[in-house]
Symmetry: C2
Subunit: 196 residues, 2 copies
Amino acid sequence: MYSGGVSTPERLIESTRELLWERGYVGTSPKAILERAGAGQGSMYHHFKGKPDLALAAIRRTAQELRASAERVLDGPGTPYERIEAYLRRERDVLRGCPIGRLTMDPDIIASAELRAPVDETIDRIRRRIAEIVEEGKRQGQFAPALDGEEIGATVLATVQGGYVLARAAGSPAPFDAGVRGLLALLAPRTPGQEN
Amino acid sequence: MYSGGVSTPERLIESTRELLWERGYVGTSPKAILERAGAGQGSMYHHFKGKPDLALAAIRRTAQELRASAERVLDGPGTPYERIEAYLRRERDVLRGCPIGRLTMDPDIIASAELRAPVDETIDRIRRRIAEIVEEGKRQGQFAPALDGEEIGATVLATVQGGYVLARAAGSPAPFDAGVRGLLALLAPRTPGQEN
DNA sequence: GTCTATAGATTGATAGAC
DNA sequence: GTCTATCAATCTATAGAC
């Protein structure tokens, strides 16, 4: 339950972000949001048009934060391989899953162009940033010329998103970590004299 | 809506399978199941203890079918690489997602050991089968000895599961196909004289 | 701007007629 | 074995007092 010097709309958005992550859109009721935010029924409908409007505000903020934190890692120091490795290995609460990726399994999100848009944009931007890094690595001779940046970008992001699925199914982060290690082994940069 | 010479419990299970795939567990109501099955309230509670019991029957059947069809491809003809390629490229209704994988984003499925069990078992068995095939490929010299079968198995399955996430976010199967192509490029078998 | 009261629909489940 | 009727609780939303 949020309190402190934070405004009511702010508490509503933060509570919605948490619940969307935990239970998805379909599984999140206004009542649950209001309880967590410590607000009454009227407050929500005063500040937002309804559940979809509040969810949109919450999703936009989560998308923005996720994109920023991913790009901080991808634009950090190191060789192309090292930056992709940093992205794959960065700290994650694996069993909670991806707060943006999980929304793609929500039928009401996918049915609404407005709610799906920030999800699409976030995933697409990260994927394209990885694609650029792979192309950079190809120019530097770190990756094989036969690799396609766009394709590897999709593979990297899919491994992460699918890693969450495997981990949640198993009830353990281990399969996520295994998938990441497998991908890194496949991506391992070519060093002089190395045959694979 | 199911009819024909099919029994009522059968129609209930099939309707539940469809709805779990489309809307997940949280998003599927007994009412919706009954409407699709063309049955009344009483029928469902006569044959099943309730929503979780019916869902369990539906999930077990879907899990069984998915495992069988995946293993048919993985145990088919061809080299280890070709069998993994066949698995990755097999026909999929990409935008519908995986009927088993999507359940991992359902909080009520994950909260129930009984409902999660068939999901876990299905994913785990396919992953281990791929791991065996990778080890077989290593023995044949088709894959680099440095690769770990268990890890690559997780990477392959994660790429598929995550590919669905990317595709549904984009509203197009293209990112799924791109991710698969990227992974296949990384897995590409070593042929005599080839350096990467 | 916040609250409670209330609305009509839907949820998951039960009772009891046929 | 199937149906309709009914249940208490919850859903999303609105009304209106403060």
